[in-house]
């Protein structure tokens, strides 16, 4: 794990002091709300429907057990005893008082946490593969590069008042678990023919009202030039991105309007002007950071998997859970465990303070003190011995964190929606709860197989509905909540934007419609065919027929 040194700590302490002063000036009336707004937003503080909401940054989705304990403490002390893990791998607290927010940020700073750049028109908290440093299919640890980007982007003097927010995601594996092509910049770690480390650079992806899969603008950026290139992209965007219309201000619009080639040549021209030495990624700094992420020696255990098979024979429930909630670790004998924050009928991504404390303890016992947050709103223990799986599973089950549904129908992504958010047009959480209850039966969920249902309460698409196999978008139609249905999105390496099927539904209708789609799939699938494959083979037609031809 990255550990703050005196320089990181100075910067963070100075930020806490600065924000305390800004809040005092606001409460004293020295600052108007309009002047205070961009300042509080750069500290992750939003004014929502019922209260202030604070979004705490979880850098590249990685937490230590002590940091998780602090998040639990914050939930208990400043909120109503729970927190909400988001599709940006962050955590949000929904019931915050402005006057105590500076104390909250001070408490977070004691454990190297903060809310810097979790909102506002700046470079947001960088996100990455939640299996970083653990996955068998990883080329290089994306946290190393994410940390370098975190430092470079923190209080960047030139790029803190951009046309719009700017999100960067990094993956070190081909199986994209960070949805990099739906970000303003997506970075995939690759090697060139000579074995040198570098990045594929995708620019101008995003969701919202104009969903776009980011085009590749550089097929090999040497790692040393990473910051110089990011600098060039950001400068072109800051100078030429639109500022006249908030809906056309993201970099994706600039890339589309200039054309990929023209955008790329502007970036290249800017890149050429930048000092290659001054902005070079420092080898010593990379080594310093890399060492902090290095794992202790893990003894490979080739037969643990065989023994686990024997345990499965005695405990079919463990097998079921293991099938959906674990993933291959790079060291034989270890596994990556996902803790489902999607209990049947629950609120996706919510965790209570008690659960967070317990997860921190389990991380210490079973996962080298590490926890990760996924953009699909679950938590991960990245380094679990297969020999410990049964005990861990029993503990998780007791805590309500062992729902065996990761990647399945009830592992629904949902934004906070109209229950909390001042931007929302419709509720998301109750829809996800009802769909979850509809598909509660575990055996049938496992029979249905991988199915990605995602719900957003407005076109800003925080619930990533464009990228769901089944996407649901809440809209306001003459004062009534209606739900549009899209099919065919993909949030993985295949990245695709779903298409609208037909007229929308009301609250009851959308739950039935999702069931109709799934039952249609079960009827028409060929042996072993996944939902996304069936959809690709048949297109919308058979689904549409069942959804709308009821006469």
């Amino acid at each position: 794990m990255y550990v703050y040194d005196s320089i990181d700590k100075s910067l963070l302490n100075q930020r806490v002091a600065e924000f305390r002063d800004q809040v005092r000036r606001r409460l004293d009336g020295e600052l108007t709300e309009d002047q205070f707004k961009p300042l509080r937003l750069m500290n992750g503080l939003y004014l929502q429907l019922h209260a202030y909401m604070l979004r705490v940054a979880i850098p590249y989705g990685a937490l230590s057990s002590d940091q998780m304990r602090k998040l639990a403490y914050i939930a208990e002390t400043y909120d109503r005893g729970y927190g909400h893990f988001t599709t940006r791998q962050n955590i949000q607290y929904n019931w915050i008082e402005l006057s105590t927010a500076p104390d909250l940020l001070y408490d977070l700073s004691e454990i190297d946490l903060h809310a810097i750049q979790t909102s506002g028109n700046c470079i947001r908290n960088v996100t990455a593969d939640p299996y970083a440093g653990a996955a068998a299919d990883e080329r290089d640890d994306p946290r190393v590069w994410s940390e370098i980007i975190r430092q470079w982007s923190t209080f960047h003097p030139e790029f803190s008042f951009l046309p719009r927010k700017f999100k960067i995601a990094v993956t070190g594996a081909d199986a994209d678990r960070a949805a990099i092509k739906f970000h303003d910049i997506g970075l995939k770690i690759v090697h060139d023919d000579a074995g040198e480390l570098g990045f594929e650079v995708y620019v101008g992806g995003g969701q919202g009202r104009t969903p776009i899969v980011a085009p590749l603008i550089n097929s090999f950026l040497p790692a040393k030039d990473l910051l110089r290139y990011l600098d060039a992209v950001l400068r072109v965007y800051n100078r030429h991105g639109r500022r006249d219309n908030i809906y056309k201000a993201r970099v994706k619009i600039l890339v589309q309007s200039l054309g990929v080639e023209a955008f790329k040549s502007q970036v290249d021209a800017e890149f050429g002007l930048l000092d290659p030495v001054l902005l070079a990624v420092d080898d010593e700094e990379v080594s310093r950071i890399r060492e902090m992420f290095a794992l202790p020696f893990l003894r490979a255990d080739e037969i643990a998997g065989v023994r686990l098979e024997e345990t499965f024979a005695e405990s079919p429930d463990l097998r079921l859970w293991s099938e959906s909630n674990t993933h291959a670790h790079k060291t034989p004998g270890y596994t990556i465990v996902t803790l489902s924050l999607k209990p049947i009928g629950g609120i996706p991504g919510d965790a209570t303070a008690e659960q967070m404390y317990a997860i921190a303890d389990l991380a210490d016992r079973f996962s080298l003190g590490e926890v990760r947050v996924t953009y699909t709103q679950n938590l991960v223990l990245p380094h679990v011995r297969q020999a410990d799986l049964f005990v861990l599973w029993s503990e998780l089950d007791r805590l309500g964190l062992a729902t065996p549904n990761v990647g399945l129908a009830t592992d629904i992504i949902a934004c906070p929606g109209l229950d909390y958010c001042s931007l929302a047009n419709a509720r998301s959480i109750p829809i996800s709860q009802r769909i979850s209850e509809r598909f509660a039966d575990l055996e049938s969920q496992h029979d249905i197989g991988p199915l990605d249902i995602r719900i957003s309460g407005c076109i800003n698409a925080c619930g990533h509905h464009h990228a769901g196999h089944i996407g649901i978008l809440g809209v306001d139609k003459k004062g009534e909540e209606r739900y549009q249905l899209t099919l065919g999105g993909q949030g993985n390496a295949e990245s695709a934007v779903g298409k609208i099927v037909g007229p929308g539904f009301d609250e009851d209708g959308i739950v039935d419609a999702v069931e109709t789609i799934v039952s249609t799939y079960l009827t028409i699938r060929t042996a072993g065919e996944l939902f996304s494959q069936t959809l690709e083979r048949t297109g919308h037609a058979p689904f549409k027929e069942r959804l709308y031809d009821r006469g």
């Binding site: 040194d5 005196s6 320089i7 100075s10 910067l11 100075q14 002091a17 600065e18 002063d21 800004q22 002047q35 961009p38 300042l39 028109n121 430092q151 470079w152 923190t154 209080f155 960047h156 003097p157 030139e158 790029f159 803190s160 008042f161 951009l162 910051l227 400068r235 800051n238 100078r239 500022r243 002007l273 001054l278 902005l279 420092d282 010593e284 700094e285 310093r288």
Partner: protein, 172 residues
């Protein structure tokens, strides 16, 4: 109008702002619009240019001052709104690519909380908006002692250099 330097100290007013249509008489020590600059001055007239300043809005094309920049006495970048961060990038371009070494001034709608960012992007003076005090700007400029990234200013260096010197200090 009060102008402060990068330490937040008040600077004597050596320059006066001349609006479009008011260019009668000498333009010595005047800050003029881009159109006035182009109309009244030749880019090769180095000695006159050193005693004139140009004011650029976010709508002006900064490329039009390339020829003038190395010789100008002052360049003022006007923030139309504090949220519009284009002048930060324009400042970097002017300092780094246009070889401008004179007074680079920020004016317009600026928050005290942006002061350090301005300085780090190469601004040398800031026109304090009437609703804020010099003290607020001074405090904001002193709020941070370290920074993570290399920038156009010289008083904060790259964090990797900072780390090295911290290690050296500890070793001594």
């Amino acid at each position: 109008m009060t102008v402060v330097n990068i330490q937040g100290e008040v600077k004597d007013q050596l320059w006066r702002s001349v609006e479009v249509g008011e260019e009668s008489g000498s333009l010595e020590s005047a800050i003029v619009s881009l159109s006035t600059l182009k109309e009244h001055f030749d880019a090769s007239d180095q000695s006159s240019l050193s005693r004139v300043g140009v004011r650029l809005t976010v709508e002006d094309d900064v490329n039009e001052i390339v020829e003038y920049a190395p010789h100008l006495g002052l360049i003022e970048l006007v923030f139309s709104q504090f949220k519009d961060g284009r002048p930060f990038s324009t400042a970097v371009t002017i300092r780094r690519d246009y070889g401008f070494a004179g007074d680079l001034r920020a004016s317009g709608d600026i928050l005290p909380d942006q002061a350090l960012f301005l300085v780090r992007c190469g601004f040398s003076t800031i026109a304090v908006p009437p609703q804020f005090s010099v003290e607020q700007f001074k405090a904001s400029l002193a709020a941070y002692s370290v920074a993570y990234q290399a920038a156009t200013d010289s008083h904060v260096s790259l964090v990797s250099d900072l780390r090295r010197s911290a290690v050296e200090v500890a070793a001594e």
